[in-house]
Symmetry: none
Subunit: 225 residues, 2 copies
């Protein structure tokens, strides 16, 4: 169904070289083998090596000096921004989002206060059902509700990751789904808030999954068009 290693040669080369860098095969400042050697080592053409090296340069791992060579700039990915995940497929992004939605709902159910519950109900009312109008705006309102659940969990890491994805997810959905938007499923959303109010993490978990399942199914239908 889903190919795990369906990558191209340049990506493989990137990961191979990055692995060697992180594995301290070369120290910081040390020179890598020249392009012809890397080409032979990785069994890819020099052009492919260049594409890989240029990506690693853009990510701060390497540095090239014309006429001299290619050198290691950093052997750690500590400062590496989380940019690649954005390149993952929409399906992958959605699954990651689901993971956060579920866990945040659980945490919020445990850490809820009457105030947060009231806020969620208000956002849910504002969201309403999709009335056939501005689709992007509806997606925006829907996202606002889900973001609020994450925020209510109080987990700053999740909030940031969620923000990171939501923009690109919303963009892509609006551009991709056309008019075939899944049922708004207001009931499932209300169930989430109810479970949170009750303080039942398992039910909150289940409610989130009930909402997301049809969306994922719709995604699969659209992507395979």
């Amino acid at each position: 169904m889903r190919a795990l290693s369906k990558t191209n040669l340049a990506d493989e080369a990137i990961e191979a070289i990055r692995g060697d860098i992180l594995g301290k095969r070369w120290a910081v400042g040390e020179k890598l083998p020249n392009e012809a050697s890397l080409s032979a080592m990785l069994s890819v053409s020099r052009g492919t090596v260049r594409e890989a090296v240029r990506v690693l340069v853009s990510q701060g791992y390497l540095e090239t000096r014309q006429g001299s060579g290619t050198y290691v700039r950093s052997t750690t990915d500590a400062g590496r921004p989380l940019t690649m995940a954005r390149r993952a497929s929409l399906r992958d992004q959605f699954e990651a989002r689901l993971a956060l939605d579920v866990e945040a709902a659980r945490l919020t159910a445990i850490r809820k206060t009457p105030k947060t519950v009231a806020g969620l109900r208000r956002l849910l009312a504002e969201r309403g059902n999709y009335d056939g109008g501005d689709q992007a705006a509806f997606i925006e309102r829907d996202l606002a509700f889900h973001k609020a659940v994450i925020a209510a969990s109080g987990n700053r890491a999740m909030i940031e990751i969620y923000d990171f994805f939501s923009a690109s997810i919303a963009d892509t959905i609006a551009a991709t789904l056309g008019k075939d938007i899944p049922e708004p499923d207001m009931q499932a959303h209300a169930d989430i808030v109810d479970a949170i109010e009750t303080g039942d993490p398992d039910e909150a978990d289940a409610a989130v999954r009930r909402f997301m399942a049809p969306v994922l199914a719709a995604l699969d239908r659209m992507i395979l068009s």
Copy 2:
């Protein structure tokens, strides 16, 4: 200090294309001209265009589909690094990690192959139980197992996020927990693999939570910050 104009053609091509993307010359999902056209437009060779495009793909702006074309993935600045998430509390990072562990275990249970199951069993055997020796090394081996579960899910977004956190988590744990490491709980880990092999996502979910619960509890004891 650095010469501002002393750039190579590929970098100029990157900035030219990125500028067009951010300037909304093409909408999200829209197709760019083919490589030959871009080559002509920018007055550089096709190889140089490919290097530029690959960098922009790695930064989340573009997406290439072999046989089809190159498409805009995001017209906003996708390079925003996730810095706050890394500074989030260890507890928050751990909860985010748990969210991914759980969902990845579910997905892997659904998408498993005999080969992945065998790989997980091997890693789990290598991990062993904590024998009081090098604690950082044990954490490393433990992390390798969990990373393998994520990788087996095939979800690239989750892999990225997990990598993003795991380094700092491992470091912090080793530095924080001292000798008060929770029971290795080999059984819970074996349960995860068993559930994956059986193809039971709910049980995989539960097994992961069984393993993480005591760790979170230990965390709370250690760090009341």
